[in-house]
Symmetry: C2
Subunit: 406 residues, 2 copies
C-alpha cells in the first residue's frame, strides 16, 4: 500500500522520539508499504521562533514570520532523514518548495492550490522515502508560506491525495478519538471507525486531534485517515466515508467545551438590521461568535443571546454596552461560567428522538439548559459549567457508549 | 552606490545585535545607497544544528546536513527583515534558492555556478532591500547545498558581482586587517588598503577575517571589498586591485601561525617517486601538508621535511613510521613546538633584498630558522614556537609598520 505518514511535534520532539518514529517507518517499509513521511516542527520550536520574531517586532510581517517558522519543519525533516539513512533506508528531506506545495499567497494561513508531486513520485518509484516538511509551501511568486497552526495534518492529507495514496496515517500523542473525555468518564471507549462528518464535529468542538481543514479535504477526496499513537503500536481511529454497512448507535460521542461565555442583549427594538448592529462590532473586533439564539419578546422587542470564547468575554461586554445604548436596547447580561456539551452521531439521522432523549437525561439530572442548537448530526446545549461532568457522565451512559456497553 | 553588505554571526547573534545591524543598514539607505544584505547564521547556531544531527548519526549524510544548517541563515534573514520593516524599510528575506544561488551538487562544500539575480534586481529597482541568507544555494536538481564554513563571505562577493554592485562591505567583529597581531605588537596599525593578493596570503596564514574563496572571487571580477566592524562606524580595510599609485612600503604585514608541527624523514633512498610515497598516505588520511623542503643529502639519500597542523602531528608520525620502513629510510623525526612567521607585501616585487633583511633581523635576535619558503609576495620561516613574539616584534619594527612609523 502507498501510505503517507504524518508525525506531529511530540513524535519528533527530541532525538529519542525521532528514533522511535524511525522505528515505525522502518516497520512499515518491512511490511512492504511505500511510505512518504510528513513532519511537524519539534514541539515548542514554532513558539520559540515566533517569540524571537516578537522580540524584534510584535507586529512582525506575516511573510517574514512564515519564512522564519518554516525552518522548524525543515530541521525535523532533515533529522529524521539522517536517522533513516543511518538504518540503511534511502530517505531524503524536502521542504515545502522542494516537495512542490504551491499555495495561495496569504501568509500564515495559506491554502494549498496544487502539489507538483512528480519529484516525490520519482523517489517513491525508486523505492525511496521522501520526508516532507509539513505546514508550508510557496506561493506562485516563490514566497514561503505556511498553512497556519496544525497545518501539517492538511499537508499530509493533501499529499496523500496528490500521490494517490491508499491511506493517510496521522501519528500523534493520543491513540484515537474517544466517545468522550476519559478524564471525566474513565470507561470511555476508543472509536474504531468514525465518519468524516462526525470527525468534523468532534474537531470543531474542541477535540483537538485533527485539524478541521484536513478532515474536510479528506472527505472531499474520500481519503481514509488513520489517527493513531506514535507511542504504542495499536490501531487508532479510522476516519472514513460514512458507510451504510456500519452498524451505528444513535450517538458516536459526547464532547464539551468549557471555554465559553454567554452574552444576552435584552429588549432590542425589533426591526430589520438589528443582528448586523449587534454582531458587526463583535466581528470587527475579531471575536468568534458561536451559538446564537434569538427570541421574539413582548411588544416589538427581541432578545439575542450568543456565546463567545471566554477570553473575549470582557471585551464583548464592553462592545455590547456601547451598541446597547446606540440601539436603545434595554439591557446587557453576561455569564462567563457556562459550557457547551454536544452529542454527535450520524446515527441521529435514522434514530428519531435523540434530542428529546438528551433533554430528558439532563432534566432527570436537574441540569438547566440555557441554550440549544442542532445540526443534522449534532445537538449542542449550553449549561452551567459546574454541571458539565455530571451531564457528560449521564449522557455517555444513557446512549450506551461505555466500554462495558459495547 | 549599489552595495552588498554582509553581516557575520556575531553581528546578528542576538536581538540587540540585529537591531544594531539594522541601524547600519538604515544609515546606509539614508545616505542614498542601494543596499542588499547577506547574513550568516547567529553565532553558535550552525554548531547547534550540526550537533543535533550528530546526535542522530555521527556520519550524517551531507545532503541532509546542508538542508539542516541552511535553516540558520534563513532564520537570521527573516529576523533582520522584521526589524527593518519595523522601521518602515521595505525589506524582504530570501533563502539561497529564492535568491537564485545555483551551485554545484557537492554538499557542504558546493561552489556557486550562477546567480539568477533578476528577482533581487526587481526588488532593488523598486527601492526595496533584499535580505539574503548567505552560505547556501540549490544545485540544478533543487537540492539545498552549502558553501562550507565561512561561505557567507563568498555568497556576498558573488552576489555583489551578479548585481554589478559598486562594492561589497563585509561587516565583522574586527575593524580591519592589521599589520600584525595587536596582542603581540600593541602599536600594530590598521591597513587602510590592501591588494587582493596580499589579502589572500593573510587569509591563508591564519588571519581569519575573510574566506580565501571570497577574496579569489573578488580578485577575479575586480570587486572592491570593504572589511569593517559592525561595532564601530569607522572605515576598515579596503581590499582592492593592486594599484600602482599606492605608495607601498616593502612589507604590508607580518603574520604567524602557532598551529604547526614539523616532521622530517631522513635518509630516504633517492629515486623518482619518493615524494609520492611520502605524501600519498598523508594525503589519503586527509592531512593538509603545508611547507615542504627537500634537501639532497649524502650518497644518493635525501631528507624531506614538512609541516602539518598540530592536531595531525601524532597521526602523521604514525603514518610516516610505516612508510619509513617500507621505503627503507633511516629515521623519522618530529617537533610539535614550531610555528610559522611570514612577511607579506606586494612591495617585495620592487624592493630587492627583503628576504635577506628578514633573515638578518632574525639572526640578530638569535632566532634559528628551521625552514624557509617564499612566494612572489611572501617570505615564510618556520621557527621555534617560543620565539614567535620576539620575531614578530623585531620584524614589525624593522620594516617600519608601527603606527608611530607611518
Amino acid at each position: 500500500m502507498r501510505i503517507v505518514q504524518k508525525y506531529g511535534g511530540t513524535s519528533v520532539g527530541n532525538p529519542d522520539r525521532i528514533r522511535k518514529t524511525a522505528d515505525i517507518v522502518e516497520t512499515s517499509l518491512k511490511a512492504g508499504d511505500e511510505i512518504t513521511v510528513v513532519v511537524s516542527a519539534m514541539s515548542g520550536e514554532t513558539n520559540r521562533l515566533i517569540s524571537m520574531a516578537h522580540e524584534m517586532d510584535q507586529a512582525a510581517c506575516p511573510r517574514e514570520l512564515d519564512a522564519l517558522v518554516a525552518t522548524g519543519e525543515q530541521v525535523t525533516a532533515a533529522l529524521l532523514s539522517i536517522e533513516l539513512q543511518r538504518r540503511g533506508i534511502r530517505a531524503y528531506s524536502f521542504n515545502g518548495a522542494q516537495a512542490g506545495f504551491i499555495t495561495s499567497g496569504n501568509h500564515s494561513r495559506a491554502r494549498i492550490c496544487n502539489i507538483e508531486s512528480h519529484r516525490l513520485i520519482r523517489h517513491l518509484e525508486k523505492g525511496e522515502v521522501p520526508v516532507v516538511a509539513g505546514f508550508q509551501g510557496v506561493d506562485e511568486d516563490g514566497n514561503i508560506t505556511t498553512l497556519g497552526r496544525g497545518g501539517s495534518d492538511t499537508s499530509a492529507v493533501a499529499l496523500a491525495i496528490a500521490l494517490k495514496a491508499d491511506r493517510c496515517d496521522i501519528y500523534t500523542d493520543v491513540d484515537g478519538v474517544y466517545t468522550t473525555d476519559p478524564r471525566i468518564v474513565p470507561d470511555a471507549s476508543k472509536i474504531d471507525r468514525i465518519s468524516y462528518e462526525e470527525m468534523l464535529e468532534f474537531a470543531s468542538l474542541g477535540a483537538k486531534v485533527l485539524q478541521t481543514r484536513s478532515v474536510e479535504l479528506a472527505m472531499r477526496f474520500n481519503m481514509p485517515i488513520h489517527l493513531r499513537s506514535s507511542f504504542e503500536s495499536v490501531d487508532g481511529t479510522f476516519v472514513v466515508k460514512e458507510d451504510e454497512t456500519m452498524e451505528r448507535a444513535a450517538i458516536t460521542g459526547v464532547t464539551y467545551n468549557r471555554d465559553e461565555a454567554k452574552v444576552t442583549i435584552q429588549g432590542i427594538p425589533d426591526h430589520p438590521g438589528i443582528a448586523a448592529n449587534v454582531f458587526g462590532p463583535v466581528a470587527d473586533a475579531g471575536i468568534n461568535v458561536d451559538v446564537i439564539v434569538q427570541n421574539v419578546s413582548e411588544q416589538g422587542h427581541t432578545d439575542i443571546t450568543f456565546t463567545v470564547p471566554r477570553a473575549d468575554y470582557a471585551s464583548t461586554m464592553a462592545l455590547l454596552k456601547e451598541s446597547c445604548e446606540r440601539m436603545q436596547a434595554r439591557n446587557v447580561l453576561g455569564d462567563n461560567t457556562v459550557a457547551k456539551v454536544s452529542i454527535i452521531g450520524v446515527g441521529m439521522r435514522s434514530h428519531a428522538g435523540v434530542a428529546k432523549d438528551m433533554f430528558t437525561v439532563l432534566a432527570k439530572e436537574n441540569i438547566n439548559i440555557q441554550m440549544i442548537t442542532t445540526s443534522e448530526i449534532k445537538v449542542t446545549v449550553v449549561i452551567d459549567e459546574g454541571s458539565v461532568d455530571q451531564a457528560i457522565r449521564s449522557l455517555h451512559a444513557t446512549f450506551g457508549l461505555s466500554q462495558s456497553a459495547s
